[in-house]
Assembly symmetry: C2
Homo-oligomer: 194 residues x 2
């Protein structure tokens, strides 16, 4: 539990997948990271053995080559956390945990209906990591939906407008406020708050 706290706050996103037969799966994952913007690449770490949900996610996304990332707010944190229970493969967490699947634009994995941020990723690379048996999954963003009002002039999203949560360790969910924003730093002037 200690080591999981050390990276600090993490992103919590619900990962939606389905297998080749269309059986859906939903799993909370907190190991997302931005790999690059051009092309738009997001990555995550999936574990081999801790929790059935993640193994289903890995199996499904290798089978269908795609998955969705769905943001959620604090009012849905209890249900989001519940997706970490070891449901059998034939029991979809969409049903078990009160989320409604939504299929958009023929994308091959299910989104969560009403999620404030919906990202569809296509598998680009799968790196099994020998050091500890985990899997790094790299996806390219193919589909993206969020409320227009949350996007700023520079293209970035105001995550507090979306109401997204951050997660601490494995069990603590918090919905941060807007915080403070700084201009791009340069060496000739002091930090400037926007």
């Amino acid at each position: 539990m200690l080591i999981n706290s050390l990276p600090g706050y993490k992103s919590a996103m619900l990962v939606g997948t389905c297998d080749a037969k269309g059986l859906t799966n939903l799993a909370i994952v907190s190991s997302h990271f931005h790999l690059g913007s051009s092309p738009p690449l997001l990555a995550m770490i999936l574990r081999p053995s801790t929790g059935n949900s993640e193994r289903h996610t890995l199996h499904n996304l290798l089978e269908t080559q795609c998955w969705t990332l769905n943001g959620f707010s604090l009012e849905h944190a209890a249900h989001a956390h519940q997706t970490s229970a070891p449901y059998p493969k034939d029991r979809s967490e969409f049903n078990a945990c009160n989320f409604e699947a939504e299929w958009l634009d023929q994308f091959g994995a299910p989104f969560i209906k009403g999620a404030p941020l919906q990202v569809g990723c296509r598998l680009r690379e799968h790196h099994p990591l020998e050091i500890n048996g985990t899997h790094m999954i790299i996806g390219e963003v193919q589909h993206l939906r969020y409320p227009e009002t949350a996007q700023r002039g520079d293209g970035s999203l105001c995550l507090s407008d979306l109401g997204l949560v951050a997660v601490s360790g494995l069990d603590t969910y918090t919905q941060p406020d807007a915080g403070v924003r700084f201009a791009a730093a340069d060496t000739n002037s002091p930090p400037r708050q926007l």
Copy 2:
């Protein structure tokens, strides 16, 4: 800017390094992730060309095989953000941005004195990622310091007690509250708040 917002809230930690001559460097990095607990592995993504700070970090940690991660609170966010300015290699961000270096237990990289969370990592693996030229750096936790009062009975850290910030995109810092905590989920009972 949009793509950088998609992973949601990220951990912001200041990475301390030095080169073989002992010249120190400090850089804010927001791409940390937990790779595994046994052995205790933390990883981060460093970019090849965006910002001199990160290239100095990469150069230094490949040279010395070690680095530090230092948490910070909102009151230090402006100075932390300032480390992203492109200072030349001979100008240490410790000095330029008002942080004091601290050397602990002969560990080969500098910590930030007074940081609420201090983690010393030894290089285990360096994976250049062909897909976009970024570098995945995997470290094993070798040194760890935090206030005892922030540790819970199960070993996890209360990040809000430490006052750590989360970062959104490249420029927004927020210090979340304690949030809500849930018991480990199982399939036979509803979510239970702790």
